[in-house]
């Protein structure tokens, strides 16, 4: 007796034919569904350039196979999904091998390899991975039964019956679980029926089969049970395959596809408008306006809710959940077709609630680009003039005066007056460093203190720097993120022209928004220069020895990662190392680095009306609560001018005044140098001359 088994043991000829018929139907339905999706995607705008598809596919394979994205911030879900994924893949591979042997190798080639030690190894591997699948599904089922908030499908913006989503999820996970269990039962009944000794290599089937026998099951009964289970398992399996393009299971296809075709700089470098764009070409107004890549991404969503949980707007009660934006678009795309007006489903107040902080994009396990999608929705609203009155007047001020404060441009360099030394005009003489100061750091009174501190530090370090004085205009990061693409382009063009006329080696800014758009988006207008953030510059100066702290501050501090510095640019360590160098004890907030919680000002939100709602707590206030929860802090350290503004306020309004103080990084560095923070630096010059 050789070690193998009959694939169709106990089945009549017509039954086998019927079975093959079912396979054909199931496969046809599957491919019909896939073709329908592909046709739907092809109706999208073709704005995505797929360069290096091989490299993309390789990177995507790495991300999918390692589950690097899926396991983030929820390792248990990562393990559960990995078990399901690998269990499913191996069982699927096993079925494919069997089909190859039965339908091709053996009948066509006369090559019969599914026997002997191959068969035994095959049996063992499939048993082990079958167990993995079942355990993974059990983990997910238990997680679901515990009702975590991120799997709560209630919308923040309206009441909606979403039971069909819940049912769909349960059917999906239940179906897979049924397949895993019935597979094992099938094996057990077969072993109980035929009882071959070598089937110890299918340990689960062996144990359960012998268990049945121990309970008194006869071979005849086992045969009958096997027959019934065989058909049930088979039909459910074929039904599952056929349903993949139509259910949550579509993420098995769209997920990896989206990870492959996604824009790797999504949200970080927004797409420019086509040259001479007409109103219909600006942003997303109808489903037909979406790029095909964004259409693919809609189907990749599994409703895992990580974006929903990470969203600062959602956390503060704004009518926005990034998950619902994607689901709304998906429903429109699937049911209403390309002509569907998005505005009928996603309301302007939802679109305007977003801070463009990238928390959702950053955590999405399938690479969905919520932020650029929302940005496209904003572009259309701006083009149609449907914007918050406060945002409108700010954009008008930016257009008219070149700054969001609506101040005359001559006031921009006014902060330099109190320095006690002259700041170079980089338009007139070369400087090693071009300091692009930014609006908040230039015009806001509280921020000017930090700006002046930085100037004094650089002066003390002997750094060669200059500014653009009144020729600097808003860099436009938030103008762009508010959806006013035309204004951003005009600002970028003008700033690029101004900067191009200067002689310098590097640009730096203390404003992460400015830093970001100069570094990552100005190249779209020919402005390609090395750009650093002042935290990086300070670290350099400390490490080179150009700055020597005269005293260790010995303060207990926490540090807030600005979205545009951290998530947008991956600068997490420079500010932390600066704090370390000046002797601060850094205590991390629970949400730090890539999980930093937006202050609420981003994406132009600082220029819009706030939410009016009972019990509304600003994101910045929630963040101060989080910091205060650490206990015994001296300072809440920031290195973004908008953070200075937001958190100075939030400390007062959150009811934590007196419990901690706000410091901008430069202010602490200046203090460590032994230079007074606010006084003119006649003293600083004297200090420098000391040995």
């Amino acid at each position: 007796m050789t070690e193998t088994r009959q694939t169709f043991a106990g089945l009549a000829h017509w039954e086998i034919v019927f079975w093959y018929g079912l396979i054909v139907v199931s496969t046809a339905v599957f491919f019909w569904g896939v073709a329908r999706l592909v046709l739907r995607y092809r109706r999208g705008r073709s704005t995505v350039e797929l360069r290096g598809i091989g490299r993309r596919a390789l990177r995507a394979a790495g991300i999918v196979l390692t589950h690097r994205w899926i396991k983030r911030r929820d390792p248990l879900a990562g393990i559960g999904h990995a078990l399901i994924f690998y269990g499913f893949m191996v069982l699927f591979a096993g079925t494919t091998i069997l089909a190859f042997q039965d339908d091709f190798a053996k009948p066509v080639l006369g090559f019969d390899f599914w026997r002997g030690s191959f068969y035994l190894g095959y049996s063992l591997v499939l048993d082990v991975f079958g167990i993995a699948l079942a355990v993974g599904l059990a983990i997910m089922i238990v997680k679901r039964l515990r009702h975590p908030p991120r799997l709560d499908y209630r919308r923040p913006d309206r009441e909606e019956d979403r039971r069909s989503y819940v049912i769909g999820d349960w059917v999906f996970v239940g179906c897979l679980f049924f397949l895993a269990l019935s597979g094992f039962l099938l094996e057990a009944f077969r072993i109980a029926w035929t009882n071959p000794s070598f089937e110890t290599w299918s340990p689960v089937g062996w144990a359960v089969g012998h268990g049945f026998k121990g309970l008194g099951m006869t071979a005849q009964e086992a045969s009958t049970a096997h027959f019934a289970t065989w058909w049930t398992h088979g039909v459910v399996a074929l039904a599952f395959v056929a349903s993949i393009p139509f259910t949550k299971a579509v993420h098995m296809l769209a997920g990896p596809a989206n990870v492959t075709v996604r824009d790797e700089r999504a949200g970080k470098a927004l797409p420019p408008l086509p040259e001479g764009a007409t109103a219909e070409q600006v942003g997303y107004g109808r489903i037909a306006d979406l790029s095909w890549e964004h259409l693919v991404s809609l189907d990749a969503c599994t409703k895992c809710g990580k974006c929903h949980a990470a969203c600062p707007a959602n956390a503060s009660g704004y009518p926005l959940s990034p998950r619902d934006v994607i689901l709304d678009l998906r429903e429109l795309s699937a049911h209403a077709g390309p002509a569907a007006e998005i505005g009928g489903r996603i309301r302007p107040e939802t679109v305007w609630s977003c801070t463009q902080c990238m928390a959702c994009v950053e955590i999405c396990p399938v690479g969905i680009e919520h932020v650029p999608i929302i940005n496209q929705l904003r572009r259309r609203l701006v083009d149609q003039g449907e914007l918050d009155p406060l945002l409108q007047s700010t954009l008008e001020a930016v257009y008219e005066t070149g700054n969001s404060f609506g101040e005359p441009k001559r006031k921009r360099p006014r902060w330099t007056r109190e320095l006690g030394f002259d700041v170079k005009d980089v338009r007139r003489e070369p400087a090693e460093l071009l300091w692009f100061v930014g609006d908040y750091a230039s015009f806001d009174a509280r921020n000017q203190r930090a700006t002046q501190a930085l100037a004094r530090i650089l002066h003390a370090a002997g750094a060669d720097f200059g500014i653009l004085f009144d020729a600097e205009k808003t860099a436009g990061c938030d103008v762009r993120r508010a959806g006013e693409e035309g204004l951003w382009a005009a600002l970028a063009e003008e700033n690029v022209r101004t900067i191009s006329g200067c002689e310098f080696e590097r640009i730096f800014s203390s404003d992460p928004h400015t830093f970001h758009t100069l570094r990552n988006e100005y190249p779209q207008h020919g402005g390609d220069w090395p750009v650093v953030h002042h935290s990086q510059l300070l670290l350099e100066l400390l490490e080179e020895g150009a700055l020597t702290p005269r005293r260790q501050l010995g303060r207990r501090v926490t540090y807030h990662d600005p979205c545009t510095l951290g998530r947008y640019n991956g600068v997490y360590d420079a500010p932390r190392r600066v704090l370390e160098a000046i002797g601060c004890e850094l205590v991390e907030m629970p949400r730090n680095r890539d999980n930093s919680f937006c202050c609420g000002a981003g994406g132009g939100r600082i220029w819009m009306q706030e939410l009016k709602k009972e019990g509304f707590r600003r994101p910045s206030e929630q963040r101060i609560d989080e910091a205060v929860g650490l206990g015994g802090l001296d300072y809440f350290v920031v290195c973004c001018p908008k953070d200075v503004t937001m958190y100075e306020d939030a400390i007062k309004t959150s009811g934590h005044q007196g419990e901690l103080e706000l410091r901008e990084l430069s202010e602490l560095v200046l203090e460590s140098l032994g230079l007074p923070v606010q006084e003119p630096v006649a003293a600083a010059a004297a200090d420098k001359e000391e040995p």
Binding site: R446, E610, T653
Partner: protein
């Protein structure tokens, strides 16, 4: 220097600006002629100290209509040949003054807040460039000058006068813009965005009981009461009165803030007010960055003193 003043009246009441114009006229030396254009000019008592002559111009319309006033003023200028004509820089004054100036080729300036004689001519002072600068303007020689004077810039003339009264006959005027009715602006539902004068209170007032005192003060001052967000959050005031990003954006002539520290969201809603006066105990309060006038003082003491004065 002969001065013609046109009285302004509404629903049978002489408006205060009329007497301010009389004061301004007197400061130019006079003689001062006060014209009353009305269906029954005699019913309006305008005989105040400083008026030398009152001219009644009888018309068929009861209320202000710009064509009527234009024709009447043209007739007055023709007949009396004044060197200076003074009207209020009011909605009515704006309705016809420039038309008369354009038609008769007069010297003309509006929103004038100071006038003085300069030899045979006069010099008027007004603001330019959003009040960033003031300017003195002079007028073409040898023709009358028509000025619209800023209300409240002169104290009203007081005390009974001894003016003579005369009449000027005017043919009936067919008016192309006809007064139909007056409507009261709906009350109760306050609209802080259209108020010229906001008295705004914030967290600094401490307790809900203190709201009443500021309501009373606002009433006395003729101001509309507005608030910052914490007071709405606390449920002390309705959100219709809230200034700031989550409330209304306001741009009154005067924004008088008591106990508002100036959260950025609040400042965004009011920083373009024409004049901002802030009273706060905290000298570091951000509101002082946008205020034109600031007082670091106990806001209750200041409020009490203010209430005593009005």
């Amino acid at each position: 220097m002969s001065v013609l003043v046109v009285a302004e009246h509404l629903r049978g009441q002489v408006r205060e600006v009329t007497y301010e114009l009389v004061s301004a006229a007197r400061s130019l030396g006079g003689p001062t002629v006060l014209a009353v254009i009305a269906s029954d000019p005699g019913a309006l008592d305008v005989n105040r100290s400083g008026v030398d002559e009152i001219v009644h111009v009888r018309v068929t319309q009861d209320e202000f209509e710009s064509d009527v006033y234009q024709r009447a003023l043209e007739a007055l200028v023709e007949e009396r040949q004044p060197q200076v004509v003074l009207l209020g820089f009011t909605v009515n004054g704006m309705g016809y003054a420039a038309a008369v100036a354009a038609k008769l080729g007069l010297g003309f300036a509006s929103d004038v807040f100071a006038v003085s004689r300069d030899g045979d001519g006069i010099v008027a002072t007004r603001a330019f460039y959003g009040s960033k600068v003031h300017g003195e303007v002079e007028f073409p020689a040898g023709r009358p000058v028509l000025l619209l004077l800023r209300p409240t810039a002169w104290p009203p003339a007081e005390g009974p006068g001894a003016a003579t009264v005369s009449e000027l006959a005017l043919a009936p005027v067919a008016s192309r813009a006809r007064h139909k009715e007056f409507r009261e602006v709906e009350k109760g539902d306050v609209d802080i965005t259209t108020a010229d004068f906001l008295l705004s209170i914030g967290r600094g007032i401490g307790e809900q009981e203190n709201v009443a005192m500021f309501e009373e003060l606002a009433g006395k001052l003729g101001a509309t009461l507005s608030v910052s967000r914490p007071l709405v959050d606390a449920g002390w005031m309705s959100n219709a009165r809230q200034v700031g990003q989550s409330g209304k954006t306001v741009k009154p002539k005067v924004y008088l803030a008591f106990g508002i520290s100036g959260a950025v969201q609040h400042l965004a809603g009011m920083k373009t007010s024409e004049t901002i006066i802030a009273v706060n105990t905290d000298p570091e309060a951000a509101i002082f960055d946008v205020a034109h006038y600031g007082a670091v003082a106990d806001l209750f003491d200041v409020a009490e003193e203010l209430a005593k004065l009005v």
